[in-house]
């Protein structure tokens, strides 16, 4: 009996060992990707903040015009959700957390329709499986974020918003706070909402002149700002994905190591037992002869 058990323990040690190799490798890949993604988010952040401030500045200013982009619609019939998640799993709760947030938002307003722009392969699969109304899908997006493709997403959103197909546009992504902390985030892109912290009465004074006209400026700025918001969100989400994966793989590796240790202990104990038994048998046999 002991012999068979020893064999199976040995096999398990081997299996866990090869899993450990995979998780270790994935952890290393994720941390090198994370380093690059982190640098990118840090470079992008000032732009993102400046853009946000500028837009909320424009939105709080006194103005003698209203654009469809800043006017809240009376009834919200349909909403467009741009959802950003990863292409691959094995990243802890990274993908499921953001999808959970989307589902929660959808359930908050059961009477409003939901359209989806899915970014990342897992998102595409999830929304297809759950029969959501998908306007566009962009699998394999975040590992190589291109401005022109972000502009495509922005254009789809603007077209739908302008035509009245949707009344609100939201973006869902995982904000990268630090390597250990990521926050799932939902932000309303259209119509603009002024962020609470940015109630600047200082710059809100006075009147801004728009060249050539507010409408023309807004028409130029809105697609650009949507594009920038989307690419910033993608960059952040990518960094979050890598750090989530790294953390998941780190704990998987730790678990595997622990398992190997306890299995080895078990194995050695059994081996010791077996040897003791054999010696006992030999000694017993020798005693019987003499």
């Amino acid at each position: 009996m002991a012999k068979g058990n020893m064999k199976s323990i040995k096999r398990r040690i081997k299996v866990v060992g090869s899993t450990l190799q995979i998780t270790k490798a994935m952890e290393m890949v994720a941390s090198s990707k994370l380093r690059r993604a982190k640098a990118q988010t840090e470079r992008m952040r000032p732009y993102f903040h400046a853009l946000d401030k500028l837009l909320s500045g424009i939105a709080t200013e006194k103005k003698d015009f209203a654009t469809i982009f800043t006017t809240k619609r009376k009834t919200v019939k349909n909403r467009l959700f741009i959802v950003i998640a990863g292409d691959r799993g094995l990243a802890g709760g990274y993908n499921s957390n953001i999808l959970k947030l989307v589902a929660a938002h959808k359930n908050n307003a059961p009477d409003t329709g939901t359209k989806i722009i899915a970014v990342g392969k897992t998102t595409v699969d999830y929304f297809k499986k759950n029969k959501y109304d998908i306007s566009a899908e962009f699998p394999h997006f975040c590992d190589d974020i291109k401005a022109s493709r972000c502009a495509d997403i922005a254009q789809i959103a603007i077209n739908q918003f302008r035509s009245g197909e949707v009344d609100e546009v939201w973006i869902f992504y995982t904000a990268f706070i630090s390597a250990l902390q990521q926050q799932t985030t939902a932000v309303q892109l259209l119509p603009f909402v002024v962020s609470e912290t940015e109630n600047s009465d200082e710059s809100a004074q006075g009147f801004t002149s728009y060249d050539p006209s507010p409408e023309a400026v807004f028409d130029r700025i809105i697609p650009k700002m949507l594009m920038s918001m989307i690419s910033c969100a993608c960059v952040e989400a990518y960094a979050s994905e890598q750090s989530a994966r790294r953390n998941a793989m780190e704990s998987a590796s730790d678990n595997a190591e622990e398992m190997i240790e306890s299995l080895s202990l078990q194995y050695n104990r059994l081996r010791q037992e077996k040897i003791t038994n054999e010696i006992n048998e030999i000694v017993g046999g020798a005693n019987a002869i003499s």
Binding site: M44, I58, V217, M225
Partner: protein
């Protein structure tokens, strides 16, 4: 000369920040000069040169698509990309120009792709011009 605070930010980081005497930007309706104590102003920027004056001398940079916003405390320019003329990699710009031209000569191009290629060509030409070639 009176100076004002100018900030140029791109997705690649803070490009410029400092006290300047004047800045000339290319808006969608033409060049616009901004000096200290300018009225509150906002405009969209196309692909073109931007000139920043410091100590009586202009420094030129190539800028592509952005926003300029002037208010009392500072002038802020947000741009997709921005490069000083003397730091432009001419070889790369030349390569980008050729690639864009090749793409434009492809007749099977969709309207959207055509617009992208055109934009890229415009940007490459602007960079070459700013670099002084």
């Amino acid at each position: 000369m009176t100076t004002f605070n100018l900030e140029i930010i791109t997705p690649h980081g803070l490009f410029f920040q400092g006290e300047t005497e004047g800045v000339v930007v290319r808006t969608t309706v033409g060049d616009k000069g901004i000096l200290a104590r300018h009225e509150n102003y906002a405009a969209a920027l196309g692909t073109g040169k931007i000139r920043v004056m410091q100590d009586g001398e202009y420094r030129t940079a190539a800028l592509s698509s952005g926003i300029v916003k002037v208010d009392r405390e500072k002038t802020l320019i947000l741009a997709q990309s921005c490069e000083w003329g003397d730091e432009i990699n001419i070889e790369r710009a030349e390569k980008a120009r050729k690639a864009a031209e090749d793409r434009l000569s492809d007749s099977a191009l969709g309207a959207n792709e055509h617009a992208i290629a055109e934009f890229k060509l415009k940007r490459a030409l602007n960079r070459l011009e700013t670099a002084g070639r």
